[in-house]
């Protein structure tokens, strides 16, 4: 039997007649390739998540124009919220008194307390919140108020048009109470 020449370590024994060349390492360090691979993965993970619409839905109740539906609520149980410009909310309970005595104002932080307070004082079947967005109010105000209805677990609420008398009161309160400079107030009707 021929002697097995086992040369230790290193490379293969090349075929006969090949000159013994300088042994060079054929091993490639793959660490940077892995880094690149993971970088690309991370990129695609993030873009896949973002392509999903981050959309939630807000469900409005059936909006009927029938007058009999509107009159069912007892006046004392009604809380009316009027939306003015600059994220202001005006509110009153029941019916608007002729001298505007029960016309109050707050902002979006305070509105939750107002609503919860009214809710505690009223019987559930009488309690209804009427939301009347003004012409200068932003869409985000309306959505926020509708959100409040869900957050405070209010079952009956309505989205209604603002009346002329209320509009006047809102304009007057905004003009007088707002700390904005007169130039700001004058620019609004010109818009």
């Amino acid at each position: 039997m021929a002697e097995m020449d086992t040369s230790g370590g290193g490379g293969h024994k090349k075929g006969p007649g090949v000159k013994k060349s300088k042994k060079q390492s054929t091993r490639v360090d793959l660490t940077p390739m892995v880094d690149l691979g993971f970088l690309l993965i991370t990129f695609f993970i993030f873009t896949t998540t973002m392509s999903e619409p981050t959309a939630m839905r807000l469900f409005l109740p059936k909006d009927t124009d029938k007058p009999e539906e509107q009159n069912k609520a007892k006046e004392s149980g009604a809380l009316t919220l009027l939306l003015g410009k600059n994220n202001q909310i005006f509110y009153y309970e029941g019916i608007l008194s002729p001298d505007g005595a029960n016309f109050k104002s707050t902002n979006f932080k305070g509105i939750r307390d107002v609503v919860m307070d009214k809710k505690k004082r009223t019987k559930p079947e009488d309690f209804v919140v009427v939301i009347k967005p003004g012409p200068e109010s932003k869409f985000v105000n309306t959505v926020d108020l509708l959100d409040e209805m869900t957050i405070s677990d209010i079952k009956r609420y309505a989205l209604v048009d603002i009346a002329a008398a209320e509009l006047q009161l809102v304009a007057a309160s905004e003009g007088g109470g707002a700390p904005a400079p007169p130039a700001g107030g004058a620019a609004a009707p010109a818009k």
Binding site: L30, I41, S51, K138, D144, T150
Partner: protein, 232 residues
Amino acid sequence: MPKVKVPRKSTSVDMTAMCDVAFLLLSFFILTTSFKPDEALKVTTPKSVQTKAAELKNVVLVTMDKEGKVYFSISDDIGKEKQEAIDVKQKTIDIVDQQKKLGLTQAEKKAFLRSGSFVGVPFSQLKQYLGLGPDQIKGLKQSGIPVMDTLNNEMITWMQAAQSAFANKTMNLMVKGDSEAKYPSFKGVLDAFKKNELFKFQMITDQENVPIGTELYKKNQSRGVVQEPAAQ
């Protein structure tokens, strides 16, 4: 002391397997990424605590941008086959063409059928708009569908057409409004819905966590709903 020679072992790890795994994962994510339809409009929707995800199929979308301009679009994802979407869109544009006597050519109607069916011009400019190529539309600033004039609320016609086109299929009516849009445009859109007896619709909003201590928060807690941090 006896000299114990600790055999030196190689500390370099063979990265081949790691690389294979990395590229496998990469291929998976490349294949599962779907491009969302190119939105012609940038709308920042307000936040809300609603947790139900918006529908993606059979969607008729009314968009309001921050200047109050109103746009109408129909999704491509209708029914089980692509042909159904094309049929619905075809019916919609046919009805609109008939009602308003716009005299649209077949080519212009075909333009309406393309991805998204996004329209934001009054009827008087519709023919012209549909005649434009897709590149011209990209940069175009559309004037919006007029809704605020109660006598000329064009959205009523669009809704009517869409409703008839969707005759026996469920139509998911959605409103995507920008936070800064003023109420009158929203009112115009609501009026258009009311006139067509469309009382059920959804509004697309961003996700928001339920504020701690409120009624809804307590209700969720009692139901065992776990509140996850809202995605930014």
